[in-house]
């Protein structure tokens, strides 16, 4: 049994801590704020396998299969529902591109298909069919409750002995050669240190700071926090916008009904580089902008009341694919999820735990594709489509 430190109490860190405990490891988990406070609790809840490259499609197909069994495994209700993702095309060229994506996804066993607007209207009763030509529809995509999911993982992890600490920032790493030997952390007024056998950097937007503590260049894994904002309406009855609905050509705007309270979450690619790692200030341009897209997608939304606008980070890498793998002999990273951490968590956590514990994993995760050293080598992947 090894002592493994997981840094970052978001969904990736918590889920990996759980998976490591399942493999019999002795895990200590550090979160500088409260669990989920970084990106997880600010996400748009969506889960999809409709990506445009093989690596992400394969990973997400596996992840969705894990999601399907997660409630049972964690013995908690997590609000996972396969309500689908519906992408909408506004031009013939886009319909063609959708067609190609559908073929690619089908090849990996993802049941996406092209649908006409009559069918789309049945799926989304308040949809404005007029501007759109066709939809790419995968009924297996879906959503889950980030709060309940994170706490379900956390509860199980703790039951299995994980020492999960919130409000406990990591303030230093001790390194000898290519090995991290100890983690220094703050807490109730003092500094403590603990000897470790391995460390996982699951700090997402904060990951470069952790890498720097390990003596690595912060831009070795270049992760830049972008404010991704959301606006949510007050609770509504379900069944009006159950899937995530997105016309990508409208600045990646999307709407999705919260599986919990039925409030409609509205997002768009109106992004701003965060001024700092605590810059969660929502912006006025987003508020006006996103709602103009949203009411064009679903006009009855004009009568809904907005109750909340908030920002979270898309911790973006240059190719918007995460960095997953080994950085030093016993320092690992799973960060830079560029908006996909929540949906990928079940698969990535399992793969990462197996890598740390056994040196290899049976999860269909393309290690080379997500290699954290690819940026240094200048090998960028084709940008992953980034709708949450």
């Amino acid at each position: 049994m090894s002592k493994i430190a997981v840094i970052g109490g978001g969904i990736i860190g918590v889920a990996t801590a759980y998976e490591l405990a399942k493999l019999g490891e002795d895990v200590i988990l550090f979160e500088k704020n409260y669990f989920g406070s970084g990106s997880t609790f600010r996400c748009a809840t969506g889960i999809r396998a409709q990506f445009t490259d093989g690596a992400n499609i394969r990973l997400m197909k596996y992840s969705v299969e894990r999601w399907e069994r997660l409630e049972e495994e964690l013995e908690s209700e997590i609000g996972f529902r396969q309500t689908g993702y519906l992408f909408l095309a506004t031009s013939e060229e886009e319909v063609e591109a959708f067609r190609a994506n559908v073929r690619l996804q089908n090849r990996f066993g993802v049941p996406t298909r092209l649908i006409d607007m009559a069918e789309a209207k049945e799926i989304v009763p308040i949809l404005n069919t007029e501007p759109f030509l066709a939809g790419a529809w995968n009924p297996k995509d879906g959503k889950a409750n980030p709060f309940k999911t994170l706490f379900a993982y956390l509860r199980k992890a703790r039951e299995m002995g994980v020492d999960a600490r919130e409000h406990t920032p990591v303030i230093g790493l001790e390194r000898e050669g290519d090995e991290i030997t100890a983690v220094k952390f703050g807490g109730n007024g003092g500094m403590e240190s603990i000897k470790v056998d391995a460390v996982l950097n699951a700090a997402n937007a904060w990951a470069p700071l952790i890498n720097a503590m390990a003596g690595l260049r912060p831009d070795l894994v270049p992760i830049i926090p972008y404010k991704h904002q959301l606006v949510k309406t007050e609770p509504l009855e379900g069944g009006q916008v159950e899937p995530l609905v997105c016309p990508p050509s409208w600045n990646d705007a999307y709407i999705i009904q919260d599986g919990e309270d039925g409030g409609i979450i509205c997002g768009a690619g109106i992004e701003h580089e965060a001024k700092s790692l605590d810059d969660y200030e929502p912006t006025y341009d987003f508020l006006r902008g996103v709602l103009r897209y949203a009411v064009k997608i679903a006009p009855p939304l004009r009568y809904a009341h907005v109750v909340r606008q908030w920002a979270g980070f898309y911790a973006k890498t240059p190719d918007r694919n995460p960095a997953i793998g080994r950085l030093l002999d016993n320092l690992y990273i799973a960060a830079g999820f560029s908006g996909h951490g929540f949906m990928m968590a079940p698969a990535v956590a399992e793969a990462m735990a197996e890598l740390i514990s056994k040196g290899r994993s049976k999860v269909p995760l393309d290690w080379e594709w997500y290699d954290p050293y690819r940026f240094e080598r200048g090998e960028l992947r084709t940008g992953a489509f980034q709708i949450g």
Partner: protein, 90 residues
């Protein structure tokens, strides 16, 4: 009707439910808020959050000063979408 001490009207959360969650070890106001959805309904926490903070202080022995007030967000009151986009019918 069975007696209920309602703290959050929007999501029908009772004082008993909040106390039970705190007893189960969840003592961060942000976590309580999200797990029970108190303060996340259309009233935006106006009525309930001070009560939750009071219960939390009493159960954990903390002073009220020590419990941070969850952030208020835009819009500070519920607003029609069309009042933001402009173009509502007169």
């Amino acid at each position: 009707m069975a007696g209920k001490r309602i703290v959050c009207r929007c999501n029908d959360v009772t004082a008993e439910e909040i106390e039970a969650l705190i007893d189960s070890g969840v003592t961060d106001i942000e976590e309580i808020k999200r797990l029970l959805r108190v303060g996340m309904g259309p009233c935006q926490g106006r009525t309930c959050l001070p009560i939750v903070i009071g219960i939390l202080a009493r159960k954990t022995g903390k002073r009220l000063e020590e419990i941070p007030l969850p952030k208020a967000r835009v819009p500070v009151r519920p607003v029609r979408v069309e009042a933001i986009t402009g173009g509502a019918d007169e």
